[in-house]
């Protein structure tokens, strides 16, 4: 047995087998237990060292050869594996209450395994192809059964596919730079190819037009899962570039480019979010803003950038999950999520409504909520570098918060004499309660995720020091 077999091939096989199970609850239960097992295994079992349990001794090897190349998962990757599979488990729990377990879980597990493979493959540049395969896996998830694929889905596939040639070609140029580090032409070419590749993959300004379009077309919870999984792994992939190539890490222009792109995404995303009339589109813009914050954190790589980048991960996962769960509950009963068609919803769907508002405010960096500590750290560090930049970033977040107030105003506008009557099911109420509670607890005690922060940087040989 080896680590890639356990955390890559086994989940793929499990996902395939789950396609055969017809019972929603059984699929959710098996998937949650399986991902819990993978999370605990990642947290507890050392890789490449002998482990003795009673009279039984075994060693989990770190690599698996495949077609002349290798998939490698070392002990340094364990925290990342725990994060990915632990978060997947949390994402899978509410699927039964939304009746989408059979649709999301098998493919979701396959996508997770492919994205783990993307970070395990050596040479790591081939990750672009595995990410593209995961994108193609997500197409059946993102298309609404019986409906023509929308513009958002088509643009999503186009932009993600266009990233592949740029990243693969940049890999070839980077190999040339390693052999000839003084060649400025090669460095410029590599930077252009890499920049374009990641701009397509991460939906960096101006390539993010597909996000709000897709948000409008797709089931919100599935969308939340894909919007969490793909950018997270792509950002880690980007970090591995910075970690691997010293010239890239030490280029002063990198920080400038990252902070400019991040600030542009946060500001433009915030301004556009406040003018949206569709609830799911607002979530789409929040995803753009969050990617912008991650880029800003990476631009501060000399001063706590990596810590802030990792600090952003857990609150983002939680907020996106609660936000998309709330949206999915509303959409199940009212397919039209335009602002003018949700009037009075706070009285009929109070739990889901509050979930939308709280997660929106949390991602806008509202104090006491989960997103605040990380966002505050970004603002503070940015303000030390450039006050105007910090102002525009803060303005973007402020606009996102304003969009939450706008949604609240629409949802609270009930006709006279309307009664309070919660329509959510018991399981949905429990899940949303837990979500709110977690948002407040993470806002008040951000150091609770400290064990993960201390272990995750080990993934990066140079950046993590």
């Amino acid at each position: 047995m080896n680590a890639p077999m356990l955390w890559i091939f086994l989940p793929m096989v499990a996902g395939g087998l789950m396609l055969l199970i017809r019972n929603e609850k059984a699929v959710t239960l098996i998937a949650c237990l399986f991902t819990l097992f993978l999370t605990l295994a990642a947290w507890l079992i050392p890789i490449d060292s002998q482990l003795t349990l009673g009279g039984w001794s075994f060693k989990l090897a770190s690599s698996q050869e495949i077609l002349g190349r290798r998939l490698i998962l070392t002990s340094a990757d364990r925290a990342f594996l725990a994060l990915v599979y632990g978060s997947s488990m949390v994402w899978f729990i509410p699927t039964t209450s939304l009746q989408i377990a059979r649709r999301l879980i098998p493919l979701g597990l396959g996508i997770t395994a492919l994205l783990v493979a993307a970070l395990a493959v050596e040479p790591f540049l081939y990750a672009a192809l595995l990410i593209e395969t995961a994108v193609l896996f997500s197409v059946p998830l993102l298309s609404t059964p019986g409906q023509k694929p929308g513009k958002g889905l088509l643009r999503f596939i186009i932009f993600q596919t266009l990233a592949v040639p740029f990243i693969l070609f940049s890999g070839w140029i980077l190999a040339g730079i390693e052999a000839n580090p003084g060649n400025v032409n090669l460095v410029t070419q590599a930077a252009i190819f890499l920049g374009l590749g990641f701009a397509f993959l991460l939906a960096v300004f101006p390539f993010y037009t597909w996000i709000p379009l897709l948000a409008e077309e797709v089931h919100p919870y599935i969308l939340g899962f894909v919007f969490w999984m793909l950018p997270t792994v792509t950002l880690f992939f980007g970090l591995s570039f910075m970690d691997r190539y010293a010239w890239l890490r030490d280029t002063p222009a990198l920080g400038t480019v990252l902070s400019a792109a991040g600030a542009l995404m946060v500001t433009s995303g915030g301004i556009l979010a406040v003018f949206q009339r569709h609830l799911a589109r607002i979530m789409g813009y929040a995803v753009i803003i969050e990617t912008g914050f991650s880029l800003l954190a990476l631009s501060l790589v000399d001063r706590m950038g990596i810590t802030i980048f990792l600090l952003l991960l857990i609150p983002r996962t939680l907020c996106l999950m609660i936000w998309s769960l709330g949206l999915a509950i509303l959409k199940d009963h009212n397919p039209n999520l335009n602002l003018n068609s949700v009037n009075g919803f706070v009285r009929v769907w109070p739990f889901a409504g509050l979930a939308l508002i709280l997660s929106n405010l949390s991602l806008a960096g509202m104090p006491l909520l989960a997103g605040f500590p990380a966002h505050q750290a970004v603002w503070e560090e940015l303000a030390r570098e450039s006050l105007p930049l910090a102002f525009w970033v803060f303005f973007g977040s402020f606009c996102l918060a304003a969009s939450a107030i706008r949604v609240l105003a629409s949802m609270a506008k009930a006709p006279e004499g309307a009664h309070w009557e919660a329509h959510e099911t018991t399981s949905q109420r429990v899940l949303l309660w837990i979500g709110w509670l977690a948002m407040f607890l993470l806002g008040l005690f951000p150091n609770w995720v400290l064990p993960l922060w201390t272990k995750l940087p080990a993934l990066f040989e140079h950046l993590g020091q």
Binding site: L67, T133, L136, P140, S143, Q147, I157, P165, W172
Partner: protein, 194 residues
């Protein structure tokens, strides 16, 4: 001899990719796409062993078969072209401009990568016309064909610098995945029509 084959493949590539842009019948489109993969095979075999080049041909033709079967099963009456604008003359003119631009770029690429002109030009023509196809259509079938064309062009160029079996296999998976995505789109469109 290899150079002659490459020039012939280039000529056929230009004809097929322009034909792909101009044709409104899906049978022709699949035929042109298959021809592109045949040309790619001839160009690839100058840098790769014939068995590896053949794997590209097989994967490409499989993609054509997948798309063809899906199209056959979901044939729409009174369709067709959703491209904007629809004029063939416009498409021909813009294709000509792309041919000229890619020729100019390929002269630099030949020096940069140390490859022959027909290979550089052929791959850039495919990428350029594939991009054009993506830019002027909203039809999922044409979008997928456009993406396959771009990847086909990229694979020719990338083969001159990388010969890993894993990359070849993964690119074949991506090609087939795109074809399956196209087939999936065609089937969902047909379900919607019913």
């Amino acid at each position: 001899m290899a150079e002659t084959i490459n020039w012939a493949a280039l000529l056929l590539t230009i004809m097929a990719s322009v034909g792909l842009l101009l044709s409104r019948d899906w049978h022709w489109r699949i035929g042109f796409l298959a021809t592109q993969y045949l040309c790619a095979f001839f160009m690839l075999q100058t840098h790769w062993p014939i068995s590896m080049a053949a794997s590209k041909l097989v994967a490409g033709w499989m993609a054509c078969v997948v798309l063809g079967i899906a199209r056959l099963n979901s044939e729409k009456r009174g369709e067709e072209d959703l491209s904007i604008p629809q004029g063939r003359l416009f498409h021909l003119l813009i294709s000509f401009i792309i041919l000229v631009v890619t020729f100019a770029v390929s002269l630099r690429v030949t020096t940069w990568l140390g490859i022959s002109l027909p290979i550089a030009w052929g791959s850039l023509v495919l990428m350029g016309l594939g991009l054009l196809q993506l830019g002027i259509t909203l039809d999922p079938f044409r979008v997928v064909i456009g993406l396959l064309t771009i990847l086909c062009g990229f694979e020719i160029l990338y083969a001159t610098v990388e010969s890993s079996i894993l990359v070849t296999a993964l690119l074949a998976v991506v090609n087939l995945g795109l074809a399956l995505t196209g087939a999936f789109f065609l089937i969902t469109v047909e379900e919607e029509r019913i």
